[in-house]
């Protein structure tokens, strides 16, 4: 390459004609985050932020899991008095909110933040300062929610916060406000990450990585990011109007003054259903990326898989009403939404059959990740089947809001997203830490999680058909649900034991696991072309891609492009479709201001729960932080 190298005006130092060691040394000086507290807080390295994001999300998974265990303790016996209704309502709300908003969505985006730049062969994510900001905002939202819960102001209206129950009259105090404002935090961080990912994927791919050579996981993150960008505004409107109703006394949801209680459900689920696919699509992307490695052959039906991802993304906006089948909607509408809800089984089926075909044609190696993927297919197909059942309006009228639905969505969320995520941790953790996880422990972990999961959630189908509604803090002995509930609670302990062992293995491996080397699995994608863990600059020289599986098709490793500046942060910008090199773009240096901007934003948002005037005076620090953030510092990036 490249045009810019031949640019006569360009006198800046580049990596051309320098020995590798010298290039590495200078790149390191340019890109690395020094080990001081200030630098740790101002870093914009996507790998460091991605790791933080993932670790924080897993902390929230543990917290949410502990809440689940608390609920199972209360439900193990009829009329138990371990947890009262007030606390129980907070617990199940916190469980749902934490798992959806603080674990599932952020962790998927975080894996994207960590992996996408590596998989597409660039040095950092687009808008890296925004990336840092999004992490701090997410952290602030999570802390807000959990501190509120700790001081007994945790939301108690369900993670869906249906009005009028979540409205001003029936939820006194600040509990529902905390929930609605926490949504704002996660919205902002998710939107920020999505914008970064879209820009990164479209404009920063390694030369030659045309659209049909992008790893499927990257495709999945692209579709997911678009889903976030289109779905989040709906919940933004919803949570803002809710908070206005509660704090300012507007009447969006007050039927007596022309508001409408059902409006909330439409807005919430217009976001809430795509949200499920925001969690699920990255997971299937991971599966599609891992299966070829363990089958030893390229994925079968790449085009079909990508099309299925896009189709799922589009269809996901047409199904939200199936959460509202019992609200008494017109018949015709219900039939339409039955058809659309069931039709999403088709792209899901396409993906499953393509995976099975890949496994069939290849030579599967039953390593821990593949074990979890098989567990995923086993479980997710089952969840898909119950999904087809609840898509039917009359059938749903019996099982809606019962434990049947609880079982269903844990099958699709744990089975469909958490299993692939655990597989992904086994698969990519060596890339992040440079050390392998234990294969033997992995089998035990899989056994415990798989058995514990099905023991916990399968009986819930039966409980639902036996008439046990969701979100009850207790039930009466005559109902005959006691035995199954006890079994479920005991199985939940097995599931928890599996996760405990998993986390132990993660820590053990990060400390003393066997060294992984650049490509321990003999995988075909670009992230395995660099060292494990990758250097701060990701790639010594930007790889040039000439096929969909560059590390397989090019036995000597991919050829590289040179010419990027090594004394300041520079990226290669390529064209959207063909990924032809277009320009060299400078990439921002570390900055503390995203942290301060996030702090100022957090103060504004939290204080506005207590006084509307916070929106006015709180805007000042935000403005200041943003001015400092964008203040020209005479650095080359300012010219860009």
């Amino acid at each position: 390459m490249s045009r810019s190298r031949n640019d006569p005006e360009d006198r800046r130092p580049s990596d051309v004609d320098l020995p590798e060691a010298e290039v590495a040394r200078r790149l390191h000086r340019t890109w690395a985050t020094p080990r001081t507290l200030k630098d740790a807080l101002s870093t914009v390295d996507h790998k460091i932020i991605g790791r933080r994001y993932i670790a924080t999300a897993f902390v929230f998974l543990i917290l949410g899991g502990l809440l689940a265990l608390a609920m199972r303790l209360q439900l193990a016996a009829p009329e138990a008095r371990i947890i009262g209704p007030d606390r129980y309502n907070q617990i199940f709300t916190m469980h749902g909110t934490t798992m959806m908003f603080l674990f599932a969505v952020p962790v998927m985006e975080a894996v994207g933040v960590f992996l996408v730049p590596l998989m597409i062969g660039t040095r950092n994510i687009a808008f890296p300062k925004l990336n840092a900001f999004s992490y701090w905002i997410y952290l602030a939202g999570g802390i807000l929610l959990w501190v509120a819960f700790a001081v007994d102001v945790g939301p108690d209206v369900g993670w869906f916060a249906y009005v009028p129950l979540a409205g001003p009259e029936f939820s006194p105090g600040k509990r529902a406000d905390i929930w609605a404002q926490m949504i704002t935090f996660t919205e902002v961080s998710a939107l920020a990450v999505s914008v970064e990912l879209v820009a990164t994927i479209f404009k920063q791919r390694a030369p030659g990585m045309s659209l049909d050579r992008i790893p499927v996981f990257v495709w999945a993150m692209l579709v997911t990011s678009f889903l976030v960008i289109m779905a989040m505004p709906a919940i933004m409107v919803a949570s803002t109007t809710l908070i206005l109703d509660r704090l300012v006394g507007t009447h969006f949801y007050n039927p007596a003054e022309g508001g409408d209680a059902l409006l909330w459900q439409h807005l919430f689920w217009f976001f809430g259903h795509p949200e499920v696919y925001i969690i699920f699509l990255p997971a299937v992307g991971m599966v599609s990326t891992m299966i070829p490695t363990f089958s030893g052959r390229p994925i079968f039906g790449y085009l079909a898989l990508v099309m299925a991802l896009i189709a799922t993304g589009i269809l996901s906006f047409g199904l939200w009403v199936h959460h509202m089948f019992t609200t008494g909607l017109p018949r015709l509408g219900e039939s339409f939404f039955t058809a659309s809800s069931m039709s999403i089984a088709v792209p899901a089926g396409v993906q499953i059959f393509c995976w099975i075909a890949t496994l069939w044609a290849g030579r599967p190696q039953m390593k821990a990740p593949l074990l979890f993927i098989c567990g995923f297919i086993f479980t997710f197909v089952m969840g898909g089947m119950t999904g087809v059942m609840v898509a039917s309006v009359p059938l749903d009228s019996q099982v809606h809001d019962t434990y049947f639905v609880v079982a269903h969505f844990h099958y699709v969320l744990i089975g469909g997203a958490l299993f692939p995520l655990v597989a992904a941790i086994y698969y990519w953790l060596p890339k992040a830490t440079g050390r392998m996880m234990s294969e033997r422990l992995g089998r035990v972990v899989f056994g415990l999680i798989f058995v514990g999961f099905h023991g916990t959630f399968f009986p819930m189908h039966i409980l639902g058909l036996m008439g046990m509604p969701r979100r009850v803090y207790t039930y009466q002995p005559e109902m005959g649900w006691g035995g199954i509930n006890l079994f479920v609670s005991v199985s939940a302990l097995v599931l928890a034991a599996g996760f405990l062992l998993f986390f132990i293995d993660v820590f053990r491996s990060a400390r003393s696991g066997p060294l992984a080397g650049p490509n321990p699995w003999n995988a075909p994608t670009l992230e395995w072309a660099t060292s494990s863990p990758p250097e701060s600059y990701n790639f010594l020289r930007i790889p040039v891609v000439s096929s969909a599986n560059p590390l397989w098709d090019d036995p000597d490793g991919p050829s590289v492009a040179s010419g990027l500046n090594i004394d300041r942060r520079e990226l290669l910008v390529t064209s959207v479709v063909e990924a032809l090199p277009e320009a060299r773009e400078s990439s921002p240096t570390d900055s503390i201001w995203p942290l301060f901007a996030a702090l100022a934003t957090a103060i504004l948002l939290i204080a506005s729960i207590f006084t509307p005037w916070a929106v006015v005076w709180g805007a000042l620090p935000v403005t200041l932080a943003l001015i400092c953030w964008f203040w020209p510092k005479g650095e080359p990036e300012d010219e860009a």
């Binding site: 369900g158 249906y162 018949r331 044609a361 599967p364 009359p394 809001d401």
Partner: protein, 337 residues
């Protein structure tokens, strides 16, 4: 709760495939598979057929997965593999489309069969935090947490809510429909057999969502007619001449002086409050506090004395009563047959 368990033999051969599932479900107090109405019967059949079809599909996919993982592999892949795989995957996807289409049609037909026709009898059901009010416009009275319907006749229930969203659900008779403030939904019930059918709120509605149950009592036409006449009468005044009832009479006086009357109605007295349940015939109802306790003089006294401990957060406030007053009020309430 007094709703008794009714046992019905599982239908024989037809569903033997699902035997384990069916058997585990057929005898619930509140089971969707233990049906006593045509509508619920259709739904049961729908649930079972979906389960069967989906189960078979799942099994097929698992067999494919197992085969893909474990098959004996030839030394070299021949050139036609890719093409054969493409065909196989296409066939599978086509089959998915057909199955999904079939299930959609099945669901649509079920919707058509269920219908929501006119009712011969109209009842208004109002879900409140956390109890059920049933208004019988034809009789000019209301009852609480207990819905009486005649067997074999279609009852149209208008569903309303003055506070938050609730959901009306009697699994043995029909699917659920939400009660949404500001809207009116409707549901038709037609019980095939006399009996007690338990229902419960299915939409999370706050603190005591767990204790918001009611009973549907399906009875033959004559019993139902007698019940209608009984309910339409105002509350009977305790007979003061009788020693047993003098306590009840004293309780009536306490009831009217104390704040009870501000929220509760007892027809035939000055108590006309509408915030809480109508107590005109509270002594004749099977349960109090929305299915929480059987109606006895003891439970009535316990409930009046300390509702917040029995059902934390309930909207019935604690009322200061002396022990004598409490005894008298509970005697009075029990006498309201």
């Amino acid at each position: 709760m007094t709703a008794p368990t009714r046992h019905r033999p599982a239908p024989p051969a037809r569903l033997f495939l699902l035997a384990p599932l069916v058997l585990s479900n057929c005898s619930g107090v509140q089971s969707a598979l233990d049906t006593a109405a045509t509508a619920a019967g259709h739904l049961r059949l729908l649930i079972l057929s979906f389960t069967l079809i989906c189960g078979v599909v799942w099994l097929l996919v698992m067999v494919m997965l197992g085969w893909a993982l474990l098959r004996r592999r030839p030394a070299a892949t021949d050139a036609g593999t890719q093409r054969r795989l493409t065909i196989a995957v296409s066939v599978c996807v086509a089959a998915t489309v057909v199955i999904v289409g079939g299930l959609t049609t099945l669901s649509f037909l079920a919707t058509r069969t269920l219908g929501s026709g006119e009712g011969e009898i109209e009842v208004v059901a109002v879900g409140q935090q956390w109890w059920w009010q049933f208004l019988y416009p034809a009789g000019g009275f209301q009852t609480v947490n207990e819905l009486h319907i005649p067997v074999g006749r279609t009852v149209r229930i208008r569903l309303e809510s003055p506070d938050v969203i609730h959901s009306f659900w009697v699994p043995s008779l029909s699917g659920k429909v939400d009660m949404i403030p500001g809207r009116t939904n409707a549901l038709t019930l037609k019980a095939e057999r006399p009996g007690l059918y338990r229902g419960q709120c299915a939409e999370f509605c706050g603190l005591q969502h767990s204790h918001m149950a009611f009973t549907v009592i399906a009875e033959d036409a004559a019993t139902y007619a007698r019940w209608m006449v009984e309910q339409a009468r105002p509350a009977r005044t305790p007979d003061t001449s009788h020693p047993d009832t003098s306590e009840a009479e004293a309780g009536r006086a306490v009831f009217l002086v104390k704040p009870c009357a501000a929220c509760h109605t007892v027809r035939g007295t000055r108590a006309v409050g509408t915030t809480g349940p109508d107590l005109t015939h509270v002594g004749s109802r099977r349960t109090i506090a929305a299915g929480l306790l059987d109606t006895t003089r003891g439970t009535l006294a316990a409930w009046t004395a300390d509702p917040q401990t029995l059902k934390p957060g309930t909207t019935m406030p604690l009322v200061p009563l002396t022990s004598d007053e409490l005894r008298q009020v509970s005697a009075y309430l029990e006498s309201l047959k």
